[in-house]
Subunit: 237 residues, 2 copies
Amino acid sequence: MIKKYQKDFSYSYTTGFYPTFELIKYKKEYLKCVYVNPNAVDTEGFKKLQISIPKEKIIISENVFNKLMLKENDNVIGVFDKYNDKLDKDDNHVVLQRPSDMGNLGNIMRTMNAFSYKNLAIIVPTADIFNPKTIRASMGSIFKINIELFNSFEEYIEKYKDHTYYPFALQNSKPMQSLKNIKKPYSLLYGNEATGLDRELLNENTLKIEQADDIDSLNLTTAVAVSLYYIKNLENN
Amino acid sequence: MIKKYQKDFSYSYTTGFYPTFELIKYKKEYLKCVYVNPNAVDTEGFKKLQISIPKEKIIISENVFNKLMLKENDNVIGVFDKYNDKLDKDDNHVVLQRPSDMGNLGNIMRTMNAFSYKNLAIIVPTADIFNPKTIRASMGSIFKINIELFNSFEEYIEKYKDHTYYPFALQNSKPMQSLKNIKKPYSLLYGNEATGLDRELLNENTLKIEQADDIDSLNLTTAVAVSLYYIKNLENN
């Protein structure tokens, strides 16, 4: 039986039907098994599960739910082996430098998916991308996007040389609205929640989201969402 | 000494220097006192506090911090009497129908503040606007905006007759990008996190944020942020 998640495990798990079906749909090759709470065997979700994966991968057990003490009232756990992705070098990227909050990280994945961004580079250290909390906040979007970790921004840019990069920062930047077209493939860079982007990553493309004069008025998730929406529409116009 | 917050209290409190200074700046008349942890009396924040409010309102005490068991490592608590606001009838409004999550609610206040929306109508039931978690998530923005609660949308629209209202929903709606100008004063309507807006509130102005075909791809906070940014810029153009 699986144990309560720890970062150094070689596996992790989804909680709830929706993220579990995303796992099955997009990363089936890493799926180990799905635990189902006996009180959920009469649900539509369980029926769908039975036609989605081999019978021997479904384990009906109450114990595991008691043991993991899930906060939400979830009746399904999808266990999978952790895996590594590579980014699509011809597509646009989102780059996060040292994101520290699992909720933010998951939410950013969800937003990326909503606005059709499929490639996420992360400069470590990072909040654990595979923690069940991150997966939960992503609503399973984690399985639909490519995520690649880098030790430094230099390592990233060395590998993806052809990308034009646009850092986001409040200082020494121009309003995002002044950007009327964008060179593809591009990378959008966002810094840590508390400290922002390292100064040496700022360049002549640095953008800011116009906002009231408050130090702390947009959180990271919001800043990413607003800018992805704006830039995706710029690209489409 | 104050007790751990409960919804029926006539008072609530901020935690941390930043939200506490926002309270002092914008709602000083409701401030009762500020508790300071003895280990914070050498900080810049404490010095600033001493010149911001009368001496007798500052209470240095370790007990209250132990008793409230704050999650964050906060050294300041600003206690205030709950109050009622009225909305500015000539200004634009954000309207939330039955928001259920305190984190979302606080974050929406923070985003409103960033994009200069100063009036929030809430159709009850609602997540507690004065819970310290909501205040925390708002980073003190709660004190800079007017918030008014209504029993029904009818009650709201009866009182603010001159507003043109724009509901947000995925069904029976036109893309937000097709909106090229907006009639002021306007109200932007958003539904509950799980159930969306009541169907009878949808009208010919109903808007959707263009996104990938996923039921659950934008969370409420994100949807509000993206649309406030778009519409504020539309207004400014």
